[in-house]
Amino acid sequence: MESVGSIIMYLIIALAIIVFSVLAVTTRKILRSATYLLFTLFATAGIYFMMDYQFLGAVQIAVYAGGIVVLVVFSILLTSKPGDKAEKLASKRRAIGLLAAFAMLGVSGYALLSRCGFFAQLPAMGDVTMDQIGDQLLGTGQGGMLLPFEAISVLLLACIIGGIVVARKR
């Protein structure tokens, strides 16, 4: 039995996720869309906090909400005039979108629900300390993430180079 607080917390977060995701993809104003995305990301961060992964929550807020959304917002401002509004969707397109979304939902939902093991309750877990995270992030033992860490640095470098070369005017 969960504490009421966590249930309420959960409800808020779950609701936020669902509502803001839906809004993010249905609103006709692109800037609002970005805003709703931000809210969703915050709600996600909330989940991370609830899961006791504070570090991850922080990263989520910092990188995702703080970095990506800002990037998106900038690009929106760069590429659209204020007051730009998407015209209404053709119902056919919406139907197709809905079909795809519900198909995904149905299939994956059914698949998930078919696993009884997934109705597990939150087990107890010690706090994930920064030490732990740091050790494992740069560790080479079982679960050590040194190699991915190095690899992703190359990836990020490449993306930076790529971004620069693409965005360069000439």
Partner: protein
């Protein structure tokens, strides 16, 4: 009420499906990018909650999410660069205009 694993998975799935919906219906490329972010985010949630609920003893899921966030960032940056690029050429970021090559 027990808040079980499924209670987290379903919102995440909904989020993912919203992303799918948005990708398929939106015209603005940046809106599509936003949809993609939703999808990636949903995956992140999955990893985290699986890790936390089922395998609390280890951190693989969490790390995956950590790296996924980095990847998502890189991807977004690149995608935005490309979108801006095309905006320069076409003065427009309507994805429906991206059909010069087909069939």
């Amino acid at each position: 009420m027990d808040i079980t694993l499924m209670y987290y998975l379903i919102p995440s799935l909904v989020m993912f499906c919203c992303g799918v919906y948005g990708f398929i219906t939106r015209k603005n490329m940046i809106a599509i990018l936003i949809s993609l972010e939703l999808m990636l985010n949903a995956v992140d949630i999955n990893f985290v909650v699986f890790n936390r609920f089922l395998f609390p003893g280890q951190l693989e899921g969490m790390f995956f999410t950590l790296f996924a966030i980095a990847i998502a960032a890189a991807e977004t940056a690149l995608a935005i660069a490309i979108i801006i690029n095309i905006f320069r050429v076409a003065k427009n970021i309507d994805v429906r205009d991206l059909t010069k090559m087909k069939f």
